[in-house]
């Protein structure tokens, strides 16, 4: 199939950036969006020009590295699907595909389609962890964890850190990301002692770079890990909880 690509080119963070138009005429429906970029780059290189920079690593939908905006939507037209799994069968022969970086004030563009998502890691660094040192953990079998609770924790733990939720949000909020982490860790016995402290630290850090949540719900629709929209309510619940109790646990 023949596709016209409008691809964002930006040399460095200071550059204003612009769309560049290319035509790929040997695309096939089972190719992914990132494979389309591979194909495009091969011909750009043959023409003696610099290829489009984009991030992608595992190509199995689990590392969270790939993440581009396709036709104005983070990752692409299919809901809950990462860029590396967005198939070209979503387009018809002759159509135009527009690819640009994930757009958010919190994600400065590094080059072309590559953005800096380190603001997400700063939130994790502030409190998204469990203060148990290697070797000091209790026997994992002596603490029973209810099957349904473990499965629920996994639903929230599935976040792959791609950051599409933020890019989808008109406010640039990171509530889906932060809520998923808070819920995941609050559900497990290992994380309970710091539940309040964690919420305080992560939410404070979140508010440094990201916007407020107005419950639009775009985030959950693009999330490749299918994090439930309930995660955004978790942020508020955990915030209330720590304010009312005033305790670290």
């Amino acid at each position: 199939m023949r596709l016209t690509l409008e691809v964002w080119r930006q040399t460095d963070p200071a550059d204003a950036g612009r769309f560049e138009t290319h035509v790929v005429d040997d695309a096939t429906p089972e190719m992914s969006v990132v494979e389309l970029l591979d194909r495009l780059n091969e011909s750009i290189v043959e023409d003696g020009r610099e290829p489009v920079a984009f991030e992608s690593d595992c190509r199995e939908g689990i590392c969270g590295a790939c993440g581009v905006t396709v036709d104005d939507r983070p990752h692409g037209p299919q809901s809950n699907t990462p860029s590396c799994h967005q198939r070209l069968s979503s387009w018809k022969d002759g159509e135009t595909v527009r690819i640009e970086p994930l757009r958010s004030g919190a994600y400065p563009v590094v080059r072309d389609l590559v953005v800096d998502r380190s603001a997400l890691d700063r939130i994790v660094r502030a409190g998204g962890h469990v203060a148990i040192q290697a070797g000091t953990a209790p026997d994992a079998d002596t603490t029973a964890v209810d099957h349904a609770l473990a499965e629920m924790a996994l639903d929230f733990a599935a976040c792959i850190g791609c950051g599409a939720c933020v890019a989808a949000c008109p406010n640039g909020a990171a509530h889906l990301f932060v809520g998923s982490k808070l819920q995941h860790l609050a559900s497990l016995p290992g994380g309970k002692e710091e539940r309040g402290k964690r919420a305080r630290a992560m939410i404070a850090e979140m508010e440094q770079d990201f916007g407020p949540c107005s419950s639009f719900g775009e985030c959950a629709d693009v999330c490749p890990a299918g994090i439930p929209l309930a995660a955004i309510a978790v942020v508020n619940r955990e915030r209330m909880r720590v304010v009312l109790r005033g305790k670290n646990n």
């Binding site: 699907t81 799994h85 080059r111 995941h184």
Partner: protein, 654 residues
């Protein structure tokens, strides 16, 4: 061993015989070796720990674990990753589970049985004492990872759930749906970031290691390139840990992430470290087949699928009927037929070789006839679709994403794909390479898996190295260095290393030929699948070596890298990696050609009996650890392998 060890003569051009290596394995009963070794390790007073700087390259399970644990202990840790975030390391993609010899069930598991399975699964080409450490520490690994946030699957009574994996008849694999690696990796990356927050670990993301600094015979630093600015800088330390993963990507089509590479380990080899068993590559039997020119990799489907899926091909060649139209008596469930005791759960090398055999015989399925069926029809009939969805839901989804087919209604198609490298930097029992002060962890190392790794042992080995081995052995190396300062940043050896790295980047940019690095990478992959793949012969390997040398010569004249070296340049990154692959690939083929036996995944067609790998324990019961002095010679050092607890036997999964 009572008889004196003699390494077999070299018959391959350019190969010389080196030394007999000492693995520093504690004497006596291997069951208690680790306990005795730990007691023998020297300690560093907590107040002195911050005076020691340790560099950790890589933030996967082994690297994040080692950096976090050493940070928790109080050492001054400097961690580097080429990713934008530590969580992205490729450990994240391991799906099926992590083995642990906790032996809580009454299925007769034990640490001893874990060791038997691991050593036998590796076809007796790994270190038995290391396997005991792996089994012993596996217990704590599960406790620790569960405590720091990995939500392991639980039974309805609240206890940890387990499942079975290939090569094993007990149920010792702990898991979190089909995303075990992801959950362990995220928990470990979080633990690492906790130490960054606490100030014990300095983390540099988007930095790639380009060289190792060796001075006074000790590893004392690294040279790294900032991938965003192109700046090349040196960092010195008292010790260096390489946890940089495996090199399966040398095959181009592999189950690895696109950026996984061998450069850090290969540079260590060029600075004097040895590479053990480079040709021991595992071909994963449940990868997705290559189906089009622009497909960028062979996606991995977890081996855990073989618990419930049945593998089959049409009984007669060139059968083009849809799978549903092939009646039961015209299907060949070849693994169940040939290996009734293990059935679909034979180890990976056996499963891959049998699939290869069926495909070669014309019984392969799919448009290119390059795959076999993995069928869930009977399992869905037995336990219901809901149960199967709970067990493998996200794997089925991934398959549907990749192929557009629904595995609930038609069988999956799978094929062997280059996957895990059992070989890696040679290290002694303490995980220290032949360069003092250079340690290795995870897939970058070699010791546990012999010639074939058992499923769910890779996450385990990375966790054990990172969390529960290096934090003991690295301090013991550091203790006598108390009072010595780090190598100066402007020491001649440091500036030389920086100059060398800069010159190499300049050389890659200067060629200005006609093909990008991906072109050469693809060519190399084709050569290796053909010559050094699931089945190897003297002829295929000799041809592959010639082709690799020719390709390498073309690379250095026909490569084209566009762009500059002072900002993000992904072509330049790829070019450097492919240059290293070309050198490594030659050594892989030389190792495979040199080793005149079949063992595990190293299947030389000349050495077989009834289609099974035929080891030669009289000549080859040792690990080849290769030195590459850089003058065209390949020096084969040898560490003899002794088996005290697991008697040398021929593997039998029938």
């Amino acid at each position: 061993m009572t008889t004196e060890f003699h390494a077999p003569d070299a018959i391959v051009d350019g190969v010389e015989i080196g030394e007999i290596l000492d693995g520093q394995i504690p004497d006596g009963d291997p069951r208690t070796a680790w306990e005795r070794r730990r007691l023998g390790y020297k300690l560093v007073n907590p107040a002195n720990r911050r005076k020691f700087r340790v560099i950790v390259i890589g933030t996967g399970l082994a690297g994040a674990g080692a950096a976090a644990a050493l940070g928790e202990l109080g050492y001054d840790v400097h961690a580097f990753t080429y990713h934008d975030a530590p969580r992205r390391a490729h450990s994240v993609a391991a799906q099926g589970g992590i083995n642990a010899a906790r032996a809580r069930k009454v299925d007769n598991d034990s640490v001893d049985r874990f060791v038997i399975d691991t050593v036998k699964g590796g076809d007796f080409r790994g270190r038995e004492a290391d396997a005991f450490r792996l089994g012993e520490e596996s217990v704590r690994v599960i406790d620790h990872l569960a405590a720091i946030g990995a939500p392991f699957a639980r039974e309805y009574g609240g206890q940890l759930a387990t499942r079975s994996f290939g090569g094993v008849q007990v149920s010792r694999t702990y898991y979190t749906r089909g995303q075990t690696g992801q959950q362990l990796q995220i928990a470990s990356a979080q633990a690492l970031l906790r130490q960054v927050d606490a100030g014990t670990v300095t983390l540099r993301t988007r930095h790639e290691m380009l060289d190792l600094v060796v001075e006074d015979g000790r590893a004392q630093g690294v040279v790294v390139r900032n991938l965003l600015t192109g700046e090349i800088s040196a960092h010195t330390a008292h010790a260096v840990v390489l946890a940089t993963g495996g090199y399966g990507n040398v095959f181009y089509f592999s189950t690895l992430a696109k950026n996984s590479n061998a450069s850090a380990a290969w540079r260590a080899v060029q600075r004097g470290a040895l590479l053990a068993s480079p040709s021991f590559i595992q071909f994963h039997p449940t990868a997705l087949p290559v189906s089009s020119r622009w497909q960028s990799k062979t996606i991995l489907m977890s081996e855990s699928l073989r618990n419930d899926g049945r593998i089959w091909v049409p009984a007669k060649a060139d059968d083009t009927r849809a799978p549903g139209d092939i009646p039961e008596d015209e299907r060949d469930y070849y693994l169940e037929r040939k290996y009734p005791a293990f059935g679909n759960l034979t180890p990976r090398d056996v499963a891959s070789r049998n699939a290869h055999e069926q495909i070669q015989a014309g019984r392969g399925v799919g448009p290119l006839k390059n795959s076999v069926y993995l069928d869930f029809r009977d399992a869905i009939k037995r336990v219901g679709k809901k149960k199967i969805a709970e067990r493998y839901g996200n794997l089925f989804e991934m398959y549907t994403h990749a192929t557009g087919e629904d595995p609930y209604t038609e069988p999956m198609r799978i094929a062997p794909g280059a996957h895990f490298t059992m070989g890696g930097l040679w290290s002694d029992y303490d995980q220290m390479t032949s360069v003092p002060g250079l340690f290795v962890g995870g897939e970058a190392g070699w010791g546990y898996h012999g010639a074939n790794r058992l499923g769910a042992n890779s996450l385990l080995s990375a966790c054990v190295d990172g969390w529960f081995t290096l934090p003991y052995s690295v301090p013991s190396y550091l203790a006598p260095l108390l009072g010595t300062s780090r190598l100066a940043d402007d020491a001649p050896v440091v500036t030389e290393a920086v100059d060398r790295a800069e010159a190499r980047v300049a050389k890659l940019l200067a060629i200005q030929g006609e093909h990008g690095p991906t072109y050469f990478h693809r060519e190399l992959g084709d050569i290796l699948y053909e010559g050094c793949g699931v089945v190897r012969t003297k002829e295929s390997l000799t041809t592959a070596i010639e082709k690799i040398r020719a390709l390498s010569a073309r690379f250095w004249t026909e490569l084209r890298v566009l762009g500059d070296d002072d900002r993000l340049n992904q072509e330049l990154e790829k070019a450097g990696r492919v240059a290293d692959y070309l050198e490594l690939a030659e050594l892989m083929c030389i190792d495979a050609l040199d080793r005149e036996e079949s063992c595990g995944a190293h299947f030389r067609a000349e050495h077989e009996a009834d289609g099974e790998a035929l080891r030669d324990d009289n000549l080859w019961a040792f690990v080849s650890a290769w030195g590459v002095p850089g003058d065209g010679r390949f020096v084969r050092h040898a560490e003899p392998l002794n088996f005290d607890a697991v008697p040398l036997t021929r593997r039998n999964y029938k």
